[in-house]
Structures are given as structure tokens and as C-alpha cells.
């Protein structure tokens, strides 16, 4: 009896440890996005994780995959983020200059109050579509670690270039414009 109970206890302990390993492996395998920017930097074109998020600028939602056929500049921002304020006018400029060529700039406001985000949009006169992800659930797929981050996505929904931090320096802005051309010609 004692031997059997001991065996059962050992079995349960081994089972628990195995379960923890399975959970760890599952977490590591399903964690996307961490390498997305690195893959884009290597010249690969990883698929941009899809999302459906509510719009802040008007009623309704936007699903990223519904924009296939267009080049997308996806900008992750928040109203409390200071560099986001600095790059906002440039993004509006990119939108105004390229929207007729099949480019959509999408602002993804995350970890923010809706009211603050709307004030930010109004203050900087942003006219491109803005989606809202308060909990930031969509950020993990993109491997976003800070604000802002920008992704240039081609017509097939693949990431051409990723920018961690504000696209403010002259060379970064040139890099974004070049990435946009590549995204349009894919």
C-alpha cells in the first residue's frame, strides 16, 4: 500500500513537471513577433500578424488583412509618449502624399485612454485611420517593446521594414520612404 501510494505521488510529481515543460514549450513556440523586426532587417518578409480593432476616428473596426492590396504604414503610438508627438506630423505628411498611390497609414493607439488619444489626434490634425487597442493585445505579435514603433507592410500583408523608436531622423525618414516604395512594388 505504502509502495503504491509512493508510486502515485512520484507519478503526480513527474506529471506536473512534464506539464510545466509542455507549457514552457507551448509559450515559446506560440510567441510570435519577437523576430519580426530582425527578419525584416535580414531582408525577409514575415507575415504581419492580423488584427481587428475598433476605430477611434470614426465608428467601426479595421481588420489589417482587409487592407491587402495596399501598402500599409502601421504606427504604434500612445498619447503619453513624447517621441510619438514628434513623429506624428511626418506620418500625416506620408499619408497625404501617398494615399492616392495605394498607401494607408494606420495609427494603432495602445495602452492609452480613448479620450486622450482623440485629443492627440485632434491636436496634431491626423486624418489617417486610427485604431484602438487599450490592453495592447495586438502588440505581442509584432514584438513591440516600446512606443512608438512603425512597420511598413507590403500589398501582400508582409512586413518590409520595422522601426523601433520614432521615425524622426532624416535617414530614418528616407528609409521609411524607400521601404514604402518596396512595399508598393511587391
Amino acid at each position: 500500500m505504502a509502495h503504491r501510494a509512493k508510486l502515485v505521488a512520484q507519478g503526480v510529481a513527474v506529471g506536473l513537471v512534464a506539464l510545466l515543460f509542455v507549457l514552457l514549450a507551448w509559450t515559446l513556440l506560440t510567441e510570435e513577433g519577437g523576430d519580426l523586426a530582425a527578419a525584416a532587417a535580414r531582408g525577409e518578409r514575415p507575415q504581419a500578424p492580423d488584427f481587428t480593432l475598433e476605430r477611434l476616428d470614426e465608428e467601426g473596426e479595421i481588420t489589417l488583412s482587409s487592407l491587402e492590396g495596399k501598402a500599409v504604414v502601421l504606427n504604434v503610438w500612445a498619447s503619453w509618449c513624447i517621441p510619438c508627438k514628434e513623429e506624428a506630423p511626418f506620418l500625416e505628411q506620408v499619408w497625404q502624399q501617398n494615399r492616392s498611390r495605394g498607401v494607408v497609414v494606420v495609427g494603432l493607439d495602445a495602452k492609452d485612454f480613448r479620450s486622450d488619444a482623440r485629443r492627440f489626434v485632434e491636436r496634431f490634425g491626423l486624418t489617417f485611420p486610427i485604431v484602438y487597442d487599450g490592453p495592447g493585445a495586438s502588440l505581442g505579435g509584432y514584438g513591440v517593446t516600446g512606443f512608438p514603433e512603425t512597420f511598413v507592410i507590403d500589398r501582400e500583408g508582409k512586413v518590409v521594414e520595422a522601426f523601433a523608436g520614432a521615425v524622426n531622423a532624416k535617414e530614418d525618414r528616407a528609409r521609411l520612404r524607400a521601404a514604402l516604395e518596396r512595399a508598393l512594388t511587391s
Binding site: A5, D112, G134, G136
Partner: protein
């Protein structure tokens, strides 16, 4: 008489507790129960810009007369349920409260059963073990010497 006095004291305590619960929520308590979505520590330990904004939101809502639950609901609506430091005591969140208790009880039961089976096994093993004939003879000799 003593029972009546005790009843009065208990009644007064319950009434004061209810009055405190009905009063305005405490900002410091709320800050300890809500999590900054950026740094993922409780608001009272965070200096992140969004945490500062959340703190000012809490104070504004308290001043506007909102209850603790209304403030929490508003923040969950903005930042999702992850903003709560403790999971809700309803729906799926209830599992987080019950599971540790279930595991604890199961563990205690398992330990109890193990101890019982071990002590039983040892007792029966000791009882049923035959004595070595040589040793038995020695014991008998010693006992005979004492008796003699």
C-alpha cells in the same frame, strides 16, 4: 446583560464598517489594486506616464462621486481586465481564487493519505517480521536468567 452589551458592540462595529464601505473610495487603496499596463506593476509603485494619468483619472472619478467598482469598471473598459491586480471573483476569474484552495486541499489530502499508509505499512511490517531464531534463543536465555 453581558450578552446585550456584546450585541451592542458588535452592532456598532458592523454599522461603522458599513458606513466606511459606503464612503468614498480611497485613492491609495485603488492604486494598490490596479496595474500599470506598461510596466505591469501596481499603480502605487509606478511612475510611468500612463500610470500617472491613471492616478489622476482615479482622483477625478473619486471627486466626481464614482464608487470603487465604477472606477475599476471604467479602467477595465479602457485597458482590459489585465489592469486589475487581482482577478475578478466571478466568471473565469473565479478559477484563480478557487484553484489554489483546491490544490491545497488535494495536497493536504494526499499528504494525509501518504502518512496513513506509511504508518500502517511500517506497523504491519514490524508486526509480521519473524524473529531470528538465534536472537530468539538469546532473548529467552536472558529472560530465563532474570527469572532465575
Amino acid at each position: 446583560m453581558r450578552l446585550r452589551a456584546l450585541g451592542v458592540v458588535v452592532g456598532a462595529l458592523i454599522a461603522s464598517g458599513a458606513a466606511a464601505a459606503a464612503g468614498p473610495p480611497n485613492a491609495a487603496d485603488l492604486e494598490a489594486e490596479l496595474v500599470c499596463p506598461v510596466c505591469e506593476t501596481t499603480l502605487d509603485q509606478s511612475t510611468a506616464p500612463v500610470a500617472q494619468r491613471m492616478k489622476s483619472f482615479i482622483r477625478l472619478r473619486i471627486a466626481a462621486g464614482d464608487t470603487e467598482q465604477q472606477i475599476k469598471d471604467a479602467l477595465v473598459d479602457e485597458f482590459g481586465p489585465g489592469v486589475l491586480a487581482t482577478p475578478p471573483k466571478s466568471g473565469f476569474g473565479l478559477l484563480a481564487w478557487l484553484l489554489p484552495l483546491v490544490v491545497l486541499l488535494a495536497g493536504a489530502l494526499a499528504v494525509g493519505l501518504l502518512i496513513r499508509s506509511w504508518s500502517r505499512g511500517r506497523a504491519t511490517a514490524e508486526d509480521s517480521q519473524p524473529l531470528d531464531p538465534q536472537l530468539e534463543r538469546l532473548v529467552d536465555d536472558e529472560l530465563a536468567r532474570f527469572d532465575g
